[in-house]
Every structure is written in C-alpha cells, then in structure tokens.
C-alpha cells in the first residue's frame, strides 16, 4: 500500500545517477576501510583459494565445492523447517480462532512460551534435553527448533490474514449451509492467502537467516561449512565475506521472487 506519493518515473531517472554514485562511494569507503584495516594487521589475503570451495572443475567434470554443498543443506533445512512451521502455525492459528476457551488458552500459552525464549536456548533444549529423551538426531533437533520457533510468528500471520476477511463472508458461507471447516477451506483461506503470502515469504527469508544458528550443534549447513573451512585454513576474512555473500544472494533472489508473487496476487 503506497502511503507517500511515489516519484514519477522521470524524476526517478534524474536522481538515479546521483543515487548510484553515492552508493558506490559509500560501499567503496567500507571496502577500503576493511581492506586497509586488514593490511595494517598484516592480514594475508588468499582470495585465490576461495573458488575451489565453491566449485571445482577437474577431469571428473564439474563438482560442487563445500560451500555450495552447505548452501544446499541450508536450503533443504529451511524448506523442511518452514513446511513444518507452516503446518504448526496454521494449527495454532485455527486453535486460537476456534472460540474454544481451552484451545485459545493452549495457543496463547504456546505463543508466549516460544516468543520469550531465545532461539539458541530453544535449540539447546531440543538437542541436549529433548534429544536424548526422545532420541532426536541433530538434523531433527534443528528442524524442530526452527519449525517451532518460526511457527509462533507464522501463526500470527495466519491469524491476521484470516481476521482480515470480512465477517459477512462467514455469514454468507454459513447461510448456504457450509460447516466451519468448509467455510475455511473454500471461502476464508483462499481470500486470506493474498494477505498472508508476502509476510509468509518474509518469514521464510528470516528462517533461512536464523538457520545459521544450528551450526552450534554442527549440522553441516552453510555456516558450519564456513567454520570448518576456517579451522582448516585460517582464512576467516575471505570465508566469512563469501558466506555472507552467499546468504545475501539467496535471500535477495527470494525477495525478488516475493515481489513477483505479490504482483501476481494483486486482485
């Protein structure tokens, strides 16, 4: 929803060179500061070492490097956790909207519990406490932690989306004899998707970023790979810059995807 009046295209084109120039100066400044700082402490840059961690091309053909393998694990972990979080979040939202006192109480208790525990502590709970009790491996502990943590916000996204549908829609659905379940499925949820998709994808990007935390229990995702390479090579500057760039590339691609989706879902 545009609140301020958007600039005209012509005006935007006029300010574009200035904006790009300013941007380059600022970015250049930051790079120069980092570089000169590194020089001063006598850091030995070894950028030429990096490509082999991304991919190699040998007689056996193209091979993924460790970083891309880590990226793949991050993507799979995020998708699995997000799916779990979405299902859980929808359940919590429906429970909260059910009108049952018990359901509402359980849902609110769950939300408050999850929202007020740091992600790292939640991870330790799943891995060190519930893991041994229920026999989770690292991967399950990671998925459960991320899923449970993000289900809290996702359930609020669902709730807001469902509540944004006019009450008259419920009444119209009821008046033709639909059950509550049918009204949700055929009338309410299809209309709230439009409200929910943009924040849901935002939450997915958020989840990708918070998935880095599972490196503390050594799930072999992108951040863990970065740590492993550094412990072998001591190239912390190059590797962390590279890892950051990979995360940035992934989330930027997704963000562009989201804006495309948003445009498609405009009524």
């Amino acid at each position: 929803m545009p609140t301020a009046r958007p600039m005209s295209k012509k005006k935007m084109m006029n300010t574009l060179p200035l904006g790009v120039g300013l941007y380059l100066i600022i970015v250049g400044g930051i790079v120069w500061l980092a570089y000169s700082g590194a020089q001063q402490m006598g850091y030995n840059w070894q950028w030429y070492q990096i490509p082999k961690y991304i991919y190699t091309f040998t007689d056996d053909g193209f091979q993924l490097g460790e970083i891309l393998k880590g990226l793949w694990v991050t993507i799979v972990l995020s998708v699995v956790s997000f799916t779990f979080a979405t299902v859980l979040g929808l359940g919590i939202a429906l429970l909260r909207l059910s009108g049952l006192v018990v359901g509402k109480g359980v849902a609110i208790g769950y939300l408050e519990f999850i929202r007020n525990i740091p992600l790292l502590v939640l991870l330790y709970l799943f891995y060190y406490v519930l893991g041994p009790v229920f026999g989770f491996d690292r991967w399950s502990a990671a998925v459960l932690t991320l899923g449970v943590f993000h289900s809290a916000l996702i359930s609020e996204i669902f709730r807001a989306g469902i509540n944004s549908v006019d009450k008259g829609q419920w009444e119209a659905a009821a008046s033709i004899g639909m059950s509550r379940g049918q009204a949700y499925r055929y009338i309410i949820l299809p209309q709230s998707v439009r409200f929910m998709l943009p924040p849901l994808f935002g939450e997915f990007v958020h989840l990708i970023k918070s998935s880095a935390i599972v490196s503390v229990i050594a799930v072999a995702e992108l951040t863990t790979i970065g740590r492993n390479i550094i412990s072998d090579t001591y190239m912390s500057f190059e590797i962390w810059f590279t890892i950051a760039a990979v995360y940035l590339a992934l989330t930027l691609v997704l963000s562009f995807g989201v804006s495309a989706l948003e445009r498609r879902f405009q009524p």
């Binding site: 008259g168 008046s175 033709i176 004899g177 639909m178 049918q182 209309q191």
Partner: protein, 247 residues
C-alpha cells in the same frame, strides 16, 4: 385454508450483553406467505430474521423453522440453512470466485451435486435474475444491483423453502433498487415463502400478505397491508408510516 406453518416463534428473547434486542417475540409464518418486517432502526428486525436461520442464537423461547427446532445443535442448523436462503444488505458475494462459481459452490460442496448439475442450476437462476451474461465475471466487476441479484440467485441455488431478505436494497444506489425489487416481486409470484426486512413500502404494498411492525425489540403490530397502510392500529406505526411515506 390449512397451510403448513414454516416459522413458529414463541416468546423469543435475545440479548447482546445487557442489551435486550428482542423481547417476547411471537410470530407464525405459513408456507407461501410473504411477510414484510418494518420499523425504525435498531428495532430488532435484522436480529429477528437472523435468528430464523441460526446466524444469531435466541436466548429464550422456542423457534421452529421448517419443523427443525433451533437451538445449538450444529448439524441440524446446517441442515436447516440449506432450506432457508438469506440475502444480506452487503451482498456478501465471494470475491475470489466468479459469478458462476459463487452460485455453484453451495450446491457442489453442501448439497454434493456434480459440477454439471450445479452449473445447470446456476445458469437457470442467473437467467431468473436476468444476468446470464455476467457468469464469468468477478463480483467486483458488477454494479451493486447486479451483485445483489447474484446474491439472490446464490441463495436460490440451494432451492430453499423460505427466503430471508435483510434490508436487500439499503446499500444500493437509488437507480438500482428497482431492478432488485423486480426480481423479488417475480420471486414472490412463484409462491416462495419470503420474509423481507425493508423500508421499501411500495414493494411491501405490492407483495406483502402480512406486515410486521417492530419497535424496541418488540412486535407492535401484525396486520394485512390494507389495514397497515390505511389504518394502523398502533399509534407508533402511524407515526413511523407518516415519517417514511411523507417524503
């Protein structure tokens, strides 16, 4: 003449918190009867007809609609709603579906008809409300009058025994009221049982068998339109009629 009674209300009370919206309502509506409910704003007209299909639950008294006793027995209320069509002031069409889909979804998902049967039914009633050419549009592309006619067709697709109208023309531009009332008059001519909350007294005069006048949650007067419009028994109805007819 012994016609079946479709709606029997006995001593109905309804509260919203501390506010008593309906007080001791007694009313019988017979099959084929056209009842127009009128009265000042806030007199409980809408609340009353919303009780007739269980959108509101009454707090005391008994209400029987089409031989089903209304209390909070959910499956039965759903059964009942298939037999009681409702048209809302704000149309409440489903904006994400086309007009045809709006009409088909009830027959398909609730009455479990096949899609061909449901489509035939939908096209028949679109024809009846005279907008067959709008079938593939979305509600937002239609005028208010057309939307309300679609809403009437949507209710008719459930092939109900009774149709409830909750101020069906109150949110329409004046030039669109006629087309909706025409459809309603035609519906009345088919012998449909209708309960209409409206301020359209011309319509009431034309189709009503019975006028119900409400004030402050009570039924003040029930009389045939000839009596009601010329010689209302209650003083309050007389004042109300003076106010809305003299302009």
């Amino acid at each position: 003449m012994t016609r079946k009674t479709i709606i029997v209300a006995e001593n109905i009370d309804k509260f919203f918190g501390d506010f008593q919206a309906l007080t001791d309502i007694n009313l019988q509506i017979h099959q084929g009867e056209r009842v127009v409910v009128c009265g000042p704003s806030g007199s409980g007209k809408s609340t009353l007809i919303r009780c007739f299909n269980g959108l509101e639950n009454h707090d005391a008294g008994t209400l029987r609609v089409n031989d089903i006793e209304l209390h909070e027995d959910v499956p039965k209320i759903r059964q009942l709603r298939q037999d009681v069509g409702m048209v809302f002031q704000q149309f409440n069409l489903f904006p994400h579906l086309t007009i045809l889909e709006n009409l088909m979804i009830g027959p398909m998902k609730v009455r479990k008809l096949g899609s061909q049967q449901a489509e035939a039914l939908a096209r028949k009633y679109l024809e009846r409300v005279r907008i067959p050419e709008q079938a593939d549009k979305r509600p937002a592309q239609l005028s208010g009058g057309q939307q309300q006619r679609v809403a009437i067709a949507r209710a008719l697709c459930m092939e109900p025994q009774v149709m409830l109208f909750d101020e069906p023309t109150s949110s329409l531009d004046p030039e669109m009221i006629g087309e909706v009332l025409d459809v309603m008059v035609e519906l009345a001519e088919t012998g449909m049982t209708m309960v209409v909350v409206t301020h359209e007294m011309g319509f009431a005069r034309k189709v009503a068998d019975t006028m119900v006048f409400m004030e402050a949650g009570k039924i003040v007067e029930v009389s045939p339109p000839e009596t009601f419009f010329t010689n209302p028994t209650s003083a309050r109805a007389r004042v109300f009629l003076d106010q809305i007819l003299d302009h």
